[in-house]
């Protein structure tokens, strides 16, 4: 079998650290033909590749990681009927590590791969039909944008929301950064459009219980908790909220634009469920919408793809004891402030009166190794916006304590200028403490805040009536659960990692699963909408096909050798293996041939067929014998 080796310079990325000339010489001496190209992935490079290969030859490509251009060369090789194909990441595994030793590393990798090449076997391609339905987990702005976009094609869209109402955090926003336009004017039309869309089915108070099946044909079980109010009958008059004797009422309908427009009964607070025989809400309801007899329900859905839009939550700043959140009156978060503005609630300072002096504390827990080591980027703009509203609506003196002002979008600087013109003060310094105990006697009755003005030494004690803490973004609670149900990989901060951060931002490593919104990292409203729609379009492209092709038959199970410990089932991150009465069963559409199961198997009963044991042994031998 003739073998050809292609070496890519990667525009200097590889050739600058690696002596390709010497490498070519060393390999050529072992009898293979070595070809070199400055950019093998470019159109010219691909033409070069195509022109030099004959059917039946074996091909080894030394270039970037197979994650990047693996598919490019694999497809070409397949087209050219190459007998065996393999790729070595010369760039990532040799050149980028450093000049020193790069040549030796490259030579060993290539020699190893070469000696194994004759043993590689191409996996079988198979066709898998696709169910034309889409599931979206999370009914925040990203999820509902995705649902609206996807519903434009005639296929069923299921939107699952854990809370009682749709819209997530967006419905409690008052104004938007940076133009201070009305948030609900933008969000509420989308919410109402949702209920007009016939092919969208909403599940509120619901969570995903189980996910089975495979890409293109997932079987999902949802659990819907009872609302105790029939949204079909209720028309949201709110009479029941007024007659509820409990304080706060056991029925709520918090959002200014509730969708669905029907309250929810919280059984834990409701007197009826405490056995006290109350049914005032039921008696007052003219539409007979109250249903105390409702029970949790299970729904089984068949979908071809899933969009995960589980969103974010603000960092729980009560974890920072010296800021006094949830302990001190007059210490609130930015999200509390948004909600108060949105619901037209009066703001109260530390002494219970209207606040005259307000501190906006940026980076509450952010860029702090003990809390969030990262910057969420969005919060500075939100904080600036909040400061301006506090000034304009309360005529309060507003002090921003910041570290660096990270104002996104070209409009950000203009907003900062407006803030300064309106008299907002900006103090560069991290707040060290917020306390009810004054350091100066005259500050009694106010909150004492310690922060050094690092740009102008002098003052470090500030007395204010209200403190607005600005927390960073963390993944919404329950996203780990979703990750483990779907086999997604969260990054070290708990956000879902896209397949490729920059070039495939809404795809995941799992076929048929996409991510949208702040679930994959801090995003503002427009970015959430953007990623929601992008995910929907990706999903539509996938779902419009009747089937997809995938490599299969990766795993070979030797029954006699198997000790039935099922470690393989446990380690498989794709949930591709399961135990059946007949032994180990591989779900072909889920398996991607990563080989974790084979390496975990203590008795050697599992093999990855395209890479037979002989191939590994040859590689190891070549590695061991290399200079």
């Amino acid at each position: 079998m003739r073998t050809k080796v292609f070496l890519c310079e990667c525009g200097g990325n590889i050739s600058e650290n690696l002596d390709l000339k010497a490498l070519k010489k060393a390999l050529a001496s072992s009898g293979v033909e070595v070809l070199r190209h400055p950019f093998l992935c470019s159109p010219e490079g691909q033409a070069f590749f195509e022109a030099r290969i004959l059917p039946g030859e074996a091909v080894l490509v030394g270039a970037c990681s197979p994650h990047l251009h693996g598919p490019t060369f694999k497809t070409l090789s397949k087209k050219l009927r190459v007998r065996a194909f393999h790729m070595v990441a010369l760039r990532e595994e040799a050149a980028w590590i450093g000049k020193e030793g790069a040549y030796q590393r490259a030579l060993r990798l290539l020699k190893g791969a070469l000696s194994a090449l004759p043993y590689y076997q191409a996996p079988d391609l198979k066709e898998f039909p696709i169910t034309k339905a889409l599931l979206i987990i999370g009914g925040g702005i990203a999820g509902l944008s995705a649902a609206l976009k996807a519903s434009e094609k005639e296929l069923p869209v299921y939107l699952v929301e854990r809370e009682a109402f749709l819209g997530g955090k967006a419905v409690f926003l008052d104004r938007l950064y940076p133009r201070l336009e009305c948030a609900s004017c933008l969000v509420s039309p989308r919410l109402s459009a949702l209920s007009h869309q016939k092919n969208i089915r909403l599940y509120t108070l619901s969570r995903v219980l189980q996910v089975g099946g495979r890409p293109g044909a997932y079987e999902v079980t949802l659990e819907e908790r009872p609302r105790y109010v029939d949204p079909e009958r209720c028309h949201g008059c709110g009479e029941c909220l007024r007659v509820c004797p409990v304080n706060p009422p056991a029925l709520t309908m918090d959002p200014p634009h509730p969708v669905p427009r029907a309250p929810v009964i919280h059984a834990a607070r409701c007197l009826h469920f405490k056995g006290e025989g109350c049914s005032r809400c039921k008696e007052v309801c003219s539409r007979k919408a109250i249903r105390f007899e409702e029970n949790p329900r299970l729904h089984r859905l068949k979908v071809g793809g899933i969009i995960v839009a589980t969103g974010f939550k603000p960092y729980p700043v009560e974890k920072i004891p010296y800021y006094g959140y949830k302990r001190l009156p007059g210490v609130i978060t930015l999200w509390d402030l948004e909600k108060a503005f949105c619901q037209k609630e009066a703001l109260r300072g530390f002494d219970g009166g209207p606040p005259r002096k307000v501190a906006v504390v940026h980076c509450a827990g952010s860029r702090d190794r003990r809390h969030l080591s990262y910057c969420s980027e969005i919060c500075c703009g939100l904080a600036l916006k909040a400061g301006i509203l506090l000034r304009e609506r309360l005529s309060a003196e507003v002090y921003h304590f910041y570290l660096d002002l990270r104002l996104k979008s070209p409009e950000g600087e203009a907003l900062l200028r407006r803030a300064k013109e309106e008299g907002l003060r900006f103090i560069r310094g991290q707040v060290a403490e917020i306390s009810e105990v004054p350091l100066r006697p005259e500050d009694e009755g106010r909150l004492t805040l310690l922060a050094e003005n690092t740009l102008q030494p002098g003052q470090k004690v500030w007395a204010v009536d209200l403190v607005v803490l600005v927390p960073g973004f963390v993944p919404e609670g329950g996203s780990e659960e979703v990750a483990s149900l779907l086999g997604l990989c969260p990054d070290r901060f708990g956000f879902f990692s896209p397949r490729e951060e920059k070039t495939a931002p809404v795809e995941t490593l799992r076929k048929g699963i996409w991510i949208a919104g702040a679930a994959s990292g801090p995003k503002d409203l427009s970015e959430s909408v953007l990623s929601g729609e992008a995910a929907a379009l990706e999903a539509l492209l996938f779902l419009e096909k009747s089937a997809f092709l995938a490599d299969t038959e990766w795993v070979d199970w030797e029954e006699e050798r198997c000790g039935r410990c099922w470690l393989c089932v446990e380690v498989c991150p794709f949930k591709a293996l399961r135990v059946s009465p007949k032994g180990l069963k591989v779900e072909e559409a889920l398996c991607c041939g990563c080989g974790l199961c084979a390496s975990a198997c203590p008795s050697g009963a599992l093999r990855i067929k395209p890479f037979p044991r002989q191939a590994y042994l040859q590689t190891l031998e070549a590695l061991a014998n290399a200079p």
Partner: protein, 257 residues
């Protein structure tokens, strides 16, 4: 003048960093001229010890590294600089890398209980150190620090601020530029400690005035408190038994580098 390092100290330090070298090899290198000769110094208890300049350690490390690469001693000799590195290695803060994390957020100054007494807050000293490690502004900060560690509990980057100030107090300024607010009290503290093994927590009474009456054998201490109590006499501390040994040990410990 610092006495330098003992052979044992050098080997110990190297062993901690994972280098293996015997006493014999060390002396052989000295003989070859790869390493500097030690200075003789008579010991109070009798006997003689050899002290090697502090840069010996770095030089020996360099030799061992070259040796690892397979160079012969002769080749090593050619590669190494002929003489002592000059000027001698500056004393550096062992956790200097951590200081790079400082974002100048000012939280250390903000939480510092004695901020108002400091010429500069800790973070400014860190920034100055990052700029030019050897020329620190002559601020009183390291000496004003009361060691409450509040800054370290707040610092978002968990920088060892108190350790850094401690380092500056000890090593950061050249001799003669030592900043000491109360040299007299310090003297009394140490003389009591050396003559009795116990002292008087002068730290605790820094804020108050103190007077010593009588000769060393019959010391009386008068403490003036800024309260209604006024001046009151306190007894000198009692003596310990193992005093001579303690005195000698303290002297040796002072010579530590």
């Amino acid at each position: 003048m610092e006495p330098g390092l003992l052979l044992e100290d050098i080997l110990q330090k190297l062993a901690e960093e994972g280098y293996q070298i015997s006493k014999r090899t060390f002396l052989y290198y000295v003989q070859l001229g790869l390493l500097p000769k030690g200075k003789r110094k008579g010991q109070k208890k009798g006997g003689v010890k050899f002290y090697y300049p502090t840069w010996t350690l770095e030089r020996l490390k360099a030799i061992l590294e070259l040796k690892k690469k397979g160079l012969k001693l002769k080749e090593i000799q050619e590669r190494l600089p002929k003489k002592a590195p000059s000027p001698p290695l500056p004393k550096t803060f062992s956790q200097a890398e951590r200081l790079k994390d400082c974002n100048a957020c000012g939280i250390c100054g903000a939480i510092c209980p004695v901020y108002e007494e400091m010429d500069l807050p800790p973070w400014r000293l860190i920034q100055a150190w990052e700029e030019v490690p050897d020329s620190l502004p002559s601020a009183n900060t390291p000496w004003v620090c009361v060691g409450c560690y509040l800054c370290e509990t707040r610092c978002p980057q968990e920088i060892p601020i108190v350790e850094f100030l401690r380092f500056l107090r000890r090593e950061g300024l050249p001799p003669g530029r030592r900043w000491r607010k109360h040299p007299e009290w310090s003297r009394i503290f140490w003389s009591l400690l050396e003559e009795r093994g116990r002292s008087f927590d002068f730290g605790a009474v820094h804020a108050y005035q103190i007077r010593v009456l009588g000769p060393a054998e019959d010391q009386r201490l008068l403490l003036r408190l800024p309260g209604p109590e006024g001046e009151k006499e306190v007894t000198a501390p009692s003596k310990i038994k193992g005093l001579p040994a303690l005195k000698r040990a303290l002297e040796r410990a002072r010579g530590w580098k």
